[in-house]
Amino acid sequence: MTSVIDIKDYTWKYLHTESPALNNIDLSIEEGSFVGIIGPNGAGKTTLAYSMDGLIPGQYNGIKKGTVNVFGKEVESYNKGELQQVVGVVFSDPEAQFTAMTVEDELVFGMENIGLTIQEIRERLEWVTELTGLTDLLLKPPYEISGGQKQRVALAAVLAMKPKLLILDEPTSMLDPVSRKMIFEVLKKLKTDEDSTIVVIEHSLENLIPLADQMILMADGEIILQENTREFFNNSDLLLEKGVYPPGVLYFFHELHRKGLYQGEYPLTVEQGKNLLQQLVK
């Protein structure tokens, strides 16, 4: 497996802050993997995301140590705009990325920018509006739709460019439970059908956990824990100490474990939890 992201001894301090936002980060992400990054606000998650698509150091002033390699090349050595063709970022604040007057133009903007043919743009537009359920909104101004719809437009605009590495910063924070599930179903399709490498920063773990191959816990600018998803949650005491609450089902089994009533693996979904309960309650 080749790694898409290779970060070594990486420290980043914004110009006007006292302490570094990221401290001694070592991280590699393999091609085709699905990685979840969690941690309290202020842990450095967004800064890490910006570092992977060259926004840092490109657009921000600060002091950098160490190296950030993306697709085998240091982010600084890419030409302007080149890196953004292979790495797509969906921001947590969708309005921060809108530029156009209609949803349709918003979706087309990125594709035009990377020089796709009109035919290709038409096909992808159809694909992406279908995938994200935006067909009825194409002619509306992105500022007049609801928060959740904005978030879907932001995601669709990035998906349309079919980036090889997709980074999502809290992509569902404004969504209702069903729309949230829908976004994760889109991500699941991308994972299985398109071989995309996907990095998701999320507070809401319920939908993330069943998809993530790997989980990373960040706090105070550092990576505290990086494990395959199931092993990751064996450290639930550490997670709780850092203010991260596992989803209800997993949390329930963790509580049983703490009371000495359960020793096995933690379930990651309601279905797995149900099966375990059926064995335990006779």
């Binding site: 606000n41 729309s179 991260v244 609450y245 209800g248 089902v249 329930f252 009371k259 149900k274």
Partner: protein, 278 residues
């Protein structure tokens, strides 16, 4: 829901936007003093529109809303802001002064209270939300989202409304901050007597804090009742595109196991488990 008199009465409310979009249809409900209500529903179902009707920002297209006996069609802004306060989903949509102090003082000054009383109310609001001293003369935009949200709530509190509507209080907050904000809203509810209405998509939070749930879909109210009961209405939830908290789903997953389908929290689930296996 107790025998207290209704503070808000919504009667046959319809609301359409100027472009003809019907945002609210056939809305009827009452809110009593001291309630803690969660307004839930799919994006675009009308939740935010409804709260803007409750505080008189929007006037009904037809039907009436009475707040403490006052019809929102007739109530002046000054009368309304003392009754129902609305905290925006994004605090940045509401904060515009240069210091937190001025931000919180803006409302009381606007309703032309004397300086002395403005000062008193600002200090009270700051104390209730617990804004650290260094923030008082700071520009709100230099604060964290959690603190900005507190400033936004304080600026509403300074108007001393009976009812406080908070639009998505936990969006963008991590788990610890979410619980802090919600505990604070619970305190406002239980110790300061405010009626609280939250708009949220966070079902575990609903399960932990709200006694009553109003579920909306396509401009209508689909269910209104105790949280415990609403979360057991599978068909309604499906229609409203909602799902109960994951722990409630686990309790409902196999009815033969004997868990209460209205289980709302992990602790309730653990207690039942202990009883079942012993």
């Amino acid at each position: 829901m107790t025998d207290k008199k209704p503070y808000i009465q919504v009667i046959d409310l319809d609301f359409s936007y100027p472009d003809g979009t019907e945002a609210l249809k056939d809305i009827n409900f009452e809110v009593r003093e001291g309630e803690f209500i969660a307004l839930i529903g799919q994006n675009g179902s009308g939740k935010t529109t409804l709260s803007k009707c409750l505080n008189g920002l929007y006037k009904p297209t037809s039907g009436d809303i009475l707040v403490d006996g006052l019809n929102t069609k007739k109530g002046s802004i000054v009368q309304m802001v003392k009754r129902v306060g609305y905290v925006f989903q994004n605090p940045d949509h509401q904060l515009f002064n240069n210091t937190c102090w001025d931000e919180i003082a803006y409302g009381p000054r606007n309703i032309e209270l004397p300086d002395e009383e403005v000062k008193e109310r600002v200090e009270e609001a700051i104390a209730v939300v617990g804004l650290p001293k260094y923030t008082h003369q700071e520009h709100p935009f230099f604060l964290s989202k959690g603190l900005r949200q507190r400033v936004a709530i304080a600026s509403i509190l300074a108007l001393r409304p009976k009812v406080i509507i908070v639009d998505e209080p936990t969006t963008g907050q991590d788990a610890k901050q979410s619980l802090e904000i919600m505990n604070f809203l619970r305190e406002l509810n239980q110790e300061h007597g405010h009626t609280i209405m939250i708009i949220t998509h966070d079902m575990p939070i609903v399960g932990l804090y709200a006694k009553r749930v109003i579920a909306m879909a396509q401009a209508r109210i689909m269910a209104d009742g105790l949280t415990r009961d609403v979360f057991t209405l599978a068909d309604v939830l499906e229609k409203t595109f909602l799902a109960p908290p994951q722990i409630t789903q686990l309790a409902q997953a196999d009815p033969t196991l004997g868990f209460d389908p209205g289980t709302l929290t992990v602790n309730e689930m653990v207690d039942q488990y202990l009883e079942l296996v012993q």
